[in-house]
C-alpha cells in the first residue's frame, strides 16, 4: 500500500518531467509545423520539419550544430585541463599564496562573468580591430571568453576529487624517480578520469546552452551557435510558423547529450556528490 503510494507520486512527477518533452516530439513530427496546430499527442507523423531544417537557406542549422559542438567540446576539454592543472598544484603542493589563491578563486566564482558584459563588449571591440581572427563573429573569440571562466568554476571541485586520491601514490612514484609532470599525467590523471568525464559532460551541457554571451558576440548567421541561431528562428513573427522546425532542432540538439548522459548515468550520481561532499 505504502509502496503503491510511492509509485503514484513518482509517476505524477515523471508525467510533469516528460510532458514538455512529449510536446516537443509532437511538434517536431507535426506535418503542419506550426505552434497553433500542435497538440500534446502527435496528430500526424512526418519528417518534413527535419528536412526543412537541413535545406533551409535562412537558417544554416548544420553550420550552427557544428559550431556549437565544436565550441562546447573544445572549451569544456581545455577548461577542465586548465582547472585540473591548478587543482593539482593546490592539492599536492605547498607554496606561498596558496590559501589566498584558493579564497580568491572562490570569490571570483561568485561574480558571474556576464555581469561584466558591457566591458567584455568594449574589450572585444578593441580585440576585433587588432586581431579579427579572435574578435566578434568568431568561435575562437567566444572560446577564449569561456576559458576565462574555467578556473573559477571547476578548480574547487577538482581539488576536492584530488584530495581523496591518497598521496602515498605520488610519494611512491617520486621514490621511483618520477618527475612532477610524470606523476600528473601517469598517476593522477588515470585515477580521476571517470570523474573528469562527468565534469566534462556537465561543462559541455552548460556551454551548449550558453546564450547571453554568445548572443552579444555572434551576429553573423554563419558564426552563430545553436542557442543564438535557434532563438532567432522563432523570434518575432516567425514564432508560430517555425515552431515545428524549432522543435526538430531541439530534439537533434538533445541527441548527443542524452546519449552520453545515459551512458555515464552511473558515474554522474557518484561524481556529483563526491564534489558536493568535498566542495
Amino acid at each position: 500500500m505504502r509502496l503503491a503510494l510511492r509509485h503514484v507520486f513518482v509517476l505524477v512527477v515523471c508525467a510533469f518531467a516528460l510532458f514538455p518533452i512529449l510536446f516537443v516530439v509532437s511538434a517536431a513530427i507535426n506535418p503542419l509545423g506550426t505552434l497553433a496546430s500542435t497538440d500534446l499527442l502527435p496528430t500526424g507523423a512526418s519528417l518534413g520539419n527535419f528536412a526543412d531544417l537541413f535545406t533551409s537557406d535562412r537558417y544554416p542549422f548544420a553550420r550552427w550544430f557544428i559550431n556549437s559542438v565544436f565550441v562546447a567540446l573544445t572549451s569544456s576539454f581545455v577548461s577542465l585541463l586548465l582547472s585540473m592543472f591548478a587543482a593539482y598544484a593546490f592539492s599536492r603542493m605547498r607554496f606561498r599564496g596558496r590559501r589566498v589563491g584558493l579564497l580568491a578563486l572562490l570569490l571570483i566564482q561568485m561574480f558571474p562573468q556576464f555581469l561584466a558584459i558591457v566591458t567584455i563588449f568594449m574589450i572585444f571591440t578593441k580585440v576585433t580591430e587588432l586581431y579579427p581572427a579572435f574578435g566578434f563573429n568568431t568561435v575562437w573569440g567566444l572560446m577564449l571568453l569561456y576559458l576565462g571562466g574555467a578556473l573559477g568554476v571547476n578548480t574547487w571541485l577538482m581539488k576536492g576529487f584530488l584530495d581523496t586520491v591518497p598521496t602515498e601514490l605520488d610519494e611512491a612514484a617520486t621514490v621511483d624517480g618520477a618527475t612532477h609532470a610524470q606523476i600528473f599525467w601517469r598517476v593522477i590523471m588515470p585515477l580521476v578520469t571517470p570523474i573528469l568525464a562527468v565534469t566534462a559532460l556537465l561543462a559541455f551541457i552548460g556551454t551548449m546552452s550558453e546564450f547571453i554571451m554568445a548572443n552579444v558576440f555572434l551576429r553573423d548567421p554563419e558564426s552563430k551557435t545553436l542557442a543564438v541561431g535557434m532563438y532567432g528562428m522563432i523570434a518575432g513573427d516567425q514564432r508560430n510558423a517555425n515552431f515545428g522546425m524549432f522543435a526538430a532542432a531541439t530534439l537533434l540538439t538533445a541527441v548527443p547529450t542524452v546519449g552520453v548522459f545515459l551512458w555515464l548515468q552511473k558515474y554522474i550520481v557518484s561524481g556529483l556528490t563526491a564534489g558536493a561532499v568535498k566542495g
Binding site: 510511492r6 516528460l18 576565462g148 558536493a276
Partner: protein, 522 residues
C-alpha cells in the same frame, strides 16, 4: 594538518640525483619556446601598427616570463597555475575591474568618446552647403587602394584630387564633355557600377578645405559645405547658429545659457553619482528595491522548490523494495539533458495565451505572461522543471551515503517516519548538500536565461516601460546597458557593482553558517 607535515618532511629529503635529459624533456622545452615565439609573432604586429606601446611592453614581458617559467626547473606550482590564471585575469578579473571603473563615469550613448571626438562629431554633423560655393563635378578614383575624389571646378575646369588629407591639383587629367574625368595619371578611375558598389565609402569620405568640407552628393556631384557650429579653443565653447554652448566638464556636454546641451558629449568621471542615483533617485531606487525583492523571492523559491521536489522523489525511490527505479531515474533526468535554452523557449510558447498548450490542456483562457502574478508563477514553475532533476540526482547520491542503520535505529527507538526524516535524514542531507544549495542560490539569483527567454522581464506596467514584473537585477541591468532607450553603460556598471556586492555578501554569510553547521553535525 598531516599533509603539511609530510610535505615539510619531504623537503628535507636528500637531493635527488640530477635528472638525465630525455627526449620528452627536450621536446617539451622546444614546444614551449615555439609557442611563446608564435604568440609573439602573431600578436605583436597589430599592436605596432596601432601604436599601442604599453600593450606591446606587457605582451613582451608576459611572453618572456612564460618562456622563462617553463624553461627553468624552479617555480613548479606556478607552472601548473599560470595557464588558467592567464585566461582568468584577461577575461574575468580584468573585465570585473574595468566594470567597476566604468561605474564612475557617464559612459553611454552621447558620451562614448573623448572631447576631441565629440567636437569632430559636432562640427561634421552640422555641415551645410555654403552659400555661393561651387558644385563640383565628381569622379571617384583609386590611388593605390585608397578612395579619392577627382573634383572638376565647373567654372575653371581645373581638376583637383581630394582625400581625407585635403585637396591637391592633378596635372594632365583628361576631362570629358559631361565634366567627368576620363583619365588621370597615377589614378584608376572607377566605372559607374564600381562606384555604386562603394557607395557607402563614398558617402563617408569628407575632404577638408580651408573653411569647411567637401562631401559627395550622390555619385557624380560634390559640394562644399561649412560647419554651422565651430569649436573655439579660446572660450572652450562651440559657437554658431546664433548661440554658444560652453563646455561643462562636470556633465561632459556643451551647454548653452538656457541649460540645453548639444547631443554629442564626451566621457567624464562622475564620481559616485551613478551609485547615489541608484539609492536616492526616487523612481530608480523604487525600481531597484522592487526588483531586488522579487529577485530574492525568485532565487529562494527556485532553490526551495527544486530541492523539495527533487528530494521528495529521491526519498520515494529510496526504498529497498521499490521496483523500476532505473526507468524512473531515466525519465526524471531527461529534462536536465534537454538543451535548456530551447526548453525555456518551448515553455514560453506553452504559456502562450492564444495557442499555448497549457491553456489548451486545461481549457483555460489565462494571459499567463500578461499579469504580474501569473507571470511570476509561470517563471518559477519553468525553473522548477529545469532544476529539479539536478536536485534529484544529488540527493540520490547523498542518500546512498547515509547509512541505513541510522534511520533503522531511530525507528527502533520509536520515532515515526516523519520524525526519522526530520531529525536524522534531513540534517545529514543538508550537511552534504548545503554548499550546492548555496551555489544554486547564487546561480539563480543571476539566472538571466530563465527570465530573458521566457517572460523577457514582462509584463511591463504602462507607466514604467523600463522595469517589468519578473525582471531580475541582471535582466534589468542588461536592458539599461543595451536597451532600446539608449545605452547607459556607466549606470548599468554601477548596478553590476551592487549585484556583485549582494551576491558576495549572501554567499559569504551562507558559507560561514555552513561551516558552523558542519561542526555541529560532523
Amino acid at each position: 594538518m598531516s599533509l603539511d607535515v609530510r610535505a615539510a618532511a619531504g623537503s628535507h629529503a636528500p637531493p635527488r640525483p640530477r635528472r638525465e635529459i630525455t627526449t620528452a624533456f627536450l621536446v617539451s622545452r622546444v614546444v614551449v619556446l615555439a609557442v611563446a615565439a608564435a604568440l609573439l609573432v602573431y600578436a605583436a604586429p597589430p599592436l605596432v601598427a596601432a601604436g599601442s606601446w604599453p600593450a606591446l611592453v606587457v605582451l613582451g614581458l608576459a611572453t618572456a616570463a612564460i618562456a622563462y617559467l617553463y624553461l627553468t626547473r624552479r617555480f613548479i606550482p606556478a607552472k601548473y597555475l599560470i595557464p588558467g590564471t592567464v585566461f582568468l585575469i584577461a577575461f574575468q578579473v580584468f573585465p570585473v575591474l574595468y566594470t567597476v571603473s566604468t561605474a564612475f563615469t557617464n559612459f553611454g550613448d552621447g558620451h562614448r568618446g573623448d572631447k576631441q571626438a565629440a567636437i569632430t562629431a559636432i562640427e561634421t554633423g552640422s555641415v551645410r552647403q555654403a552659400p555661393g560655393s561651387p558644385e563640383y563635378s565628381l569622379t571617384t578614383a583609386l590611388k593605390g587602394d585608397r578612395l579619392v575624389f577627382l573634383l572638376v571646378d565647373p567654372k575653371t575646369k581645373q581638376v583637383q584630387a581630394g582625400d581625407p588629407a585635403g585637396l591637391a591639383p592633378v596635372p594632365g587629367a583628361q576631362v570629358g564633355v559631361t565634366g567627368k574625368v576620363l583619365r588621370a595619371p597615377g589614378f584608376t578611375v572607377l566605372t559607374a557600377p564600381q562606384a555604386a558598389a562603394r557607395a557607402q565609402q563614398i558617402a563617408a569620405l569628407a575632404v577638408p578645405t580651408r573653411g569647411g568640407l567637401i562631401k559627395a552628393n550622390g555619385l557624380s556631384r560634390a559640394v562644399e559645405g561649412r560647419s554651422a557650429l565651430v569649436y573655439d579653443a579660446r572660450c572652450d565653447c562651440v559657437q554658431g547658429e546664433g548661440d554658444r554652448w560652453k563646455a561643462d566638464e562636470g556633465q561632459g556636454y556643451f551647454v548653452n545659457a538656457t541649460g540645453a546641451h548639444l547631443a554629442q558629449g564626451w566621457q567624464v568621471s562622475v564620481g559616485f553619482a551613478n551609485f547615489s542615483r541608484v539609492l536616492t533617485n526616487p523612481t530608480i531606487s523604487g525600481y531597484f528595491i522592487g526588483v531586488f525583492g522579487w529577485n530574492v523571492v525568485f532565487a529562494l523559491a527556485s532553490v526551495g522548490a527544486t530541492f523539495a521536489l527533487g528530494m521528495a522523489v529521491a526519498l520515494a525511490l529510496h526504498h529497498p523494495r521499490m521496483r523500476g527505479t532505473r526507468f524512473y531515474r531515466i525519465a526524471l533526468i531527461l529534462p536536465y539533458a534537454m538543451p535548456s535554452f530551447a526548453m525555456l523557449l518551448v515553455w514560453r510558447d506553452m504559456f502562450n495565451r492564444d495557442f499555448g498548450l497549457i491553456n489548451q490542456l486545461f481549457g483555460l483562457d489565462v494571459d499567463w505572461m500578461g499579469q504580474p502574478s501569473t507571470a511570476r508563477f509561470a517563471v518559477i514553475l519553468v525553473n522548477l522543471w529545469l532544476g529539479f532533476p539536478y536536485m534529484f540526482l544529488v540527493t540520490t547520491g547523498a542518500l546512498q551515503a547515509i547509512p541505513r542503520e541510522l534511520t533503522e535505529a531511530a525507528s527502533i527507538d520509536g520515532a515515526t517516519p516523519w520524525q526519522g526524516f526530520r531529525k536524522v535524514t534531513l540534517p545529514l542531507l543538508l550537511v552534504a548538500l548545503t554548499p550546492l544549495l548555496i551555489s544554486s542560490f547564487a546561480y539563480n539569483f543571476n539566472n538571466f536565461n530563465a527570465i530573458a527567454l521566457t517572460s523577457e522581464g514582462g509584463p511591463f506596467p504602462a507607466e514604467s516601460p523600463q522595469v517589468g514584473a519578473t525582471d531580475l537585477l541582471i535582466t534589468y541591468t542588461f536592458r539599461l546597458a543595451f536597451g532600446t532607450y539608449g545605452a547607459q553603460f556607466g549606470f548599468a556598471a554601477s548596478i553590476s557593482v551592487f549585484i556583485f556586492a549582494i551576491v558576495a555578501i549572501i554567499s559569504a554569510v551562507a558559507f560561514r553558517r555552513t561551516r558552523r553547521q558542519e561542526e555541529v553535525y560532523a
